[in-house]
């Protein structure tokens, strides 16, 4: 897929102990493997984002095992309790092995 680009929304600042909300979106067709080519009638092979991981300072805080029933351009919203400043890293794994990633830092006081 041309130009897969993740978007994430993480608050820039929070107080220690706050439960923050994180939103993520990535443009991906999420070919389910259930469709057939209109012209040839052949099944279109599955090609989806099959896993999403959010880490904070290297530790996994949230993960999603993704199946073909997740819509195109997968969107995930979840919460994290932050105790210290640090960096979130987000990774999306494609069926073809490609890993898309992005990072965001947060200042916790």
């Amino acid at each position: 897929m041309a130009n897969v680009k993740p978007r994430v929304k993480v608050p820039k600042k929070a107080a220690a102990g706050d439960v923050i909300v994180i939103k993520t979106l990535i443009n991906h067709k999420m070919e389910s493997g259930q469709r057939k080519d209109k012209k040839t009638g052949e099944p279109i092979p599955r090609k989806i984002i099959n896993n999403f991981v959010a880490k904070f300072n290297g530790e996994t805080v949230f993960e999603v095992g993704v199946e073909p029933a997740v819509s195109a351009n997968p969107y995930f919203q979840f919460s994290v309790k932050v105790m210290e400043s640090g960096e979130f890293t987000f990774t999306w794994t494609d069926d073809d092995g490609t890993v898309y990633d992005t990072a965001k830092s947060i200042e916790v006081s």
Binding site: Q34, T60, F62, S79
Partner: protein, 149 residues
Amino acid sequence: MKTDRRNFCALSAGALTLALAGNRVATADGHAVEERIAEFTGGAEAATGTIELKAPEIAENGNTVPISVSVESPMTADNYVSEVMILATGNPLPGVATFKFSPMSGSATASTRIRLAKTQDLIALAKMSDGSVFSDTKSVKVTIGGCGG
């Protein structure tokens, strides 16, 4: 994009009323659904309550149906929600997504957008750190547009 899903939708719309609040065990996918539940719970009986699945009563398009799930839990190191699995009982494959939480989640809530092939029941199952399981079910009516569009 004329997908197979479209055909599913067209078929199911004809049987709109009958398909509602259907007896899920009786559907063709019942077996696969039961298997996924058994695999997730490890045989534990799922209790109701504690988990809430939110989904629209009527979805304008089955391609993008917003859902969210929340589980009551203190989310501490020794008492937290470890996983929530979402199943769509009327899809060709029942699996949708499995959210894996940690005590650092702070709150066991998550949202996503999903595909529903037709009007059906959604099941959410939560597994707690002590192995207990809770579930919630929601019916979603999937509509199709005007002139088959």
